[in-house]
């Protein structure tokens, strides 16, 4: 894990420096004295190798210094205040997708080839294929600007959460519903289900008591990578809904050549993703019955 992080950090460091312009590039000329002072202040007047070593030493201590664009803010503080927002958005979206996606999938499977099944599968197909930068503005247009029911953006009141969560969950909801349906259909064909039906159990017991546990497995394996992706913040949604999350920072930091902020966020993302992958692997081993038997 450490070598991977080092490679990522090094690549990011040098790629950022290779990009034209710098953090103090501006449309207006900066007085020479001010520019020198700024470069000195951030150690950008030192040779690149020295800057790199200093960056590595500080990165080990998780100290990325102040952001170049927002010098009053430490990179660490920016990450610590904006990540919880992305996390909250992601968790709500995940919760909503599961709460709606799983029942839809189960119902569709238990009523295979009925109107409900066709309807559900057609709408989830739409959910998978409509990108969130189209869905978000459409929802805003309907619920905020035409009906005046919900706020069109921001992240202050509970009502503010609804539209971004809906937008972010659409694709996950659709996937989960389809995966649940597929898994359940597979399971419902099994012999032990026929047995359960034969002994006269009500259909609800058959589905929830017997088929559900096995049928939901594809969703569980999908959840691992999905969780990582969903809680890391969606750049598009944070931008459209003006949500103060981490995704928005990453994009603007790259455009601003905010070297320290970019490095801080990239290393944080990379580390977080690795930890999550590790957790998913552990969870797999724990959930998969075959592993348990071995």
């Amino acid at each position: 894990m450490i070598p991977t992080l080092w490679v990522i950090a090094t690549l990011t460091f040098f790629l950022m420096r290779a990009a034209p312009g710098g953090p103090f590039q501006s449309e207006r000329e900066i007085p020479a004295a001010a520019k020198e002072q700024l470069l000195r202040q951030y150690g950008l007047d030192k040779p690149l190798a020295e800057q790199y070593v200093r960056f590595l030493v500080n990165a080990v201590r998780l100290d990325f210094g102040p952001s170049y664009k927002y010098p009053t803010q430490q990179v660490r503080d920016i990450i610590l205040t904006s990540f919880p927002v992305s996390l909250e958005l992601g968790l709500w979206a995940l919760l909503f997708s599961l709460a709606l996606g799983v029942p839809i999938g189960v119902l569709a499977a238990s009523r295979q080839n009925t109107g409900f099944d066709y309807g559900a599968m057609a709408s989830t197909l739409l959910g998978v294929s409509v990108p969130n930068f189209v869905l978000g503005p459409l929802l805003v247009l309907l619920f905020s600007l035409t009906l005046y029911w919900l706020p069109p953006a921001l992240w202050i009141t509970p009502a503010d959460r609804i539209l971004p969560v809906l937008t972010l969950s659409a694709i996950y909801l659709a996937y989960i519903a389809r995966l649940t349906r597929g898994g359940m259909l597979e399971t419902l064909k099994q012999d032990y289900i026929r047995t359960a039906r034969a002994k006269g159990l009500p259909e609800s017991r058959v589905i929830f008591g017997h088929a559900f546990k096995l049928g939901i497995l594809p969703v569980v394996s999908y959840l691992g990578p999905a969780v990582a992706r969903i809680v890391m913040g969606s750049i598009v949604i944070e931008q459209i809904f003006a949500i103060p999350g981490l995704g928005r920072h990453l994009v603007s930091a790259a455009f601003n050549r905010d070297y320290t902020l970019v490095l801080g966020i990239v290393i944080f993302y990379a580390g977080f993703l690795m930890v999550l992958n590790l957790l998913v692997d552990v969870a797999y081993a724990w959930l998969d019955p075959r592993v348990e038997l071995a």
Partner: protein, 579 residues
């Protein structure tokens, strides 16, 4: 409820949700065309919801997250808007005309040679924490801006002050030689290098705002973090969450507290222009400032009464690097200028949202007689090109237009490309770069023709002409002309306004005839202000003092009490302005 019923209920609910969720999209597509349908509490003449907020709470989009809160080092409009709420300079600006009005100084005198300003401060001025504010604070603050160690990006705003430039460049070590002094606690004297007609505008600019010495010296650069920040202006910050919001409440120690009616200001940092306009339509924002209305929707929105679209003090132009071939030839530059149909660009490419413009300086200067604008003349263009040695475009090298990535920039570049092809038979390629790369390329003069723009800092042609002097850092074309430089230097020293403006006009004529610039359009302001907001007006500089803004509830909610005539400043005689 038995099982089948439960299933049915569940099924019904699911279907209902699905219909709302997915078929809703279809509905949206149909109503999309009627998106202007007013909200429940709105009149047809306005864009969206016009129900005023409860109480005197004002919410606006500040555009982006401010980089600095320290006025001495800041350099952006969002930063400036926050600074103008929290701090107040010697003079303030009239919200309608932006003329200097009394601020921390209630009166000022100008010497006969127009080089010495004496500001008389109000008695009993205080910082928001109760510390006394004196003329010494201004001396210290302005020296701090100019000190090379501060690294102020806008230090050059104070260069009209005697010895300021030398001190800022490090050529002069003694800060006491800079022309600022405080003979006593309530008198601040500024000595200028030359008579500077626009000096009061500079004094009102955010770089010239005072900073609290007691905090800066105690906390170092930490003083500008939001919870330490302390000003002398009408408001103070009570809450700041990055990329989320600023909340301001009135500063009870402000001298004109009695006339500050808002009880709370919320400033949101929204960069996305459609999001900002959506929030305005939904009634969350009371003010969507210029630049945050999507350009594509302006033709549709501008018919509403709450849209404001006056001229803005900025010009969009192309510049050419004159040290490169073929742009070193003045006839080539003229040919390229004559071949551009600005009217067509403004009318068809930009749908009439801007004004075609053939001058270097924008409109609106009193007493300034601008030279005749460049005009579209294809015949002349072809003649110029022949004179340059490329008759019919023969032998003309392939040239490139560089612009920063944006839909409008691309469409304009395409139009120009087509015009140069049609009129002059030139082959032109287009290249776009994202902002920082683009700035790096233009600064290094690594381009043929580049899209540029300039926003004036004060209402004087000098702010547009100064940058074209030989070697100026904002020139970025390698162009220079001793006649031009002499005229600008002469104008700076000239105390007579009419003669000074005449010299500037001559300079502009030289620039139009020989210069490296191809003016294209004059910017317009495009903002949205709710009808119940009082005290915000369209201004050329897009500067909007919010000190006396208030929410009009139509006589309800205690407005009548608040609307009592403004009290005269205590113990302070009326302002005189210039003698």
């Amino acid at each position: 409820m038995n099982a089948p019923d439960k299933n049915r209920a569940q099924r019904f609910w699911l279907i209902a949700v699905l219909i709302a969720f997915e078929l809703g999209l279809v509905v949206v597509a149909c109503v999309g065309r009627r998106a202007n349908t007013p909200g429940p509490a709105s009149a047809k003449d306005y864009f969206g919801n016009v129900a005023p907020p409860r109480g005197q709470v004002f919410t606006f989009n500040n555009g982006a997250e401010p980089e600095h809160l320290d006025p001495a080092v800041m350099s952006g409009q969002p930063d400036g808007r926050v600074a103008r709420l929290v701090f107040e300079g010697l003079v303030s600006s009239d919200p309608k005309t932006l003329a200097a009005t009394p601020g921390q100084a209630y009166r000022w005198d100008l010497s006969d040679d127009r080089k010495t300003y004496t500001f008389h401060l109000r008695p009993g001025l205080q910082w928001a924490d109760g510390q006394a504010l004196t003329a010494q604070d201004f001396v210290w603050s302005w020296r701090r801006v100019l000190s090379p160690a501060t690294g102020s990006r806008y230090a050059n705003f104070l260069y009209p002050i005697k010895n300021a430039e030398a001190f800022n460049r490090g050529e002069l070590a003694d800060s006491s030689q800079v022309g600022v002094a405080a003979p006593d606690d309530s008198t601040f004297v500024v000595t200028l290098e030359n008579p500077t007609a626009y000096f009061l505008e500079i004094a009102a600019f955010y770089t010239a705002l005072p900073t609290p010495r007691h905090l800066v010296e105690k906390l170092g650069s930490n003083w500008e973090s939001a919870h330490n920040l302390m000003g002398n202006g009408p408001f103070r910050i009570v809450e700041w969450r990055q990329k989320d919001r600023f909340v301001f409440v009135p500063n009870d120690r402000y001298w004109d507290r009695a006339n500050v009616r808002l009880t709370k200001i919320v400033a949101l940092p929204i960069e996305e222009v459609s999001t900002s306009t959506n929030l305005y339509k939904a009634g969350v924002l009371d003010w969507n400032p210029s630049g945050y209305v999507p350009k594509q929707v302006i033709p549709f929105i501008q018919k509403f009464k709450d849209f404001s679209g006056g001229p803005f003090h900025a010009v969009y132009f192309y510049s050419m690097v004159v040290t490169r071939k073929p742009f070193d030839n003045v006839w080539v530059r003229r040919a390229l200028n004559y071949a551009i149909d600005r009217e067509a660009i403004a009318k068809y490419v930009l749908k009439g949202t801007v004004r075609a413009w053939g001058n270097i300086t924008p409109a609106g200067y009193t007493g300034y007689d601008a030279p005749a604008p460049l005009r579209y003349d294809p015949v002349q263009a072809r003649e110029c090109l022949a004179k340059a040695g490329y008759p019919g475009g023969k032998g003309f090298p392939k040239i490139e237009i560089l612009f920063n990535t944006s839909e409008d920039n691309r469409r304009i570049a395409e139009a120009v490309q087509a015009m140069w092809k049609r009129e002059l038979n030139l082959s032109v390629t287009l290249t776009n770069q994202e902002w920082a790369s683009f700035q790096a390329a233009t600064t290094a003069r690594q381009y043929d023709v580049a899209r540029r723009s300039w926003i004036g800092d004060y209402m004087d042609p000098n702010t547009f002409l100064d940058m074209w002097q030989t070697g100026n850092g904002n020139n970025r074309t390698g162009w220079g002309d001793p006649r031009y430089d002499a005229l600008l230097r002469g104008a700076t020293r000239e105390p007579d306004t009419a003669r000074r403006l005449a010299m500037l006009s001559q300079a502009e004529a030289i620039l139009l005839a020989d210069g490296p610039e191809i003016p294209i359009y004059h910017y317009t302001e495009s903002s949205l202000i709710k009808p119940y907001v009082r005290g915000i007006y369209s201004t050329m500089l897009d500067v909007h003092p919010l000190t006396h803004v208030w929410i009009d509830h139509g006589g309800k909610d205690g407005d009548a009490v608040a609307a009592a005539p403004r009290a005269a400043p205590e113990a302070a005689p009326q302002a005189e302005g210039r003698p």
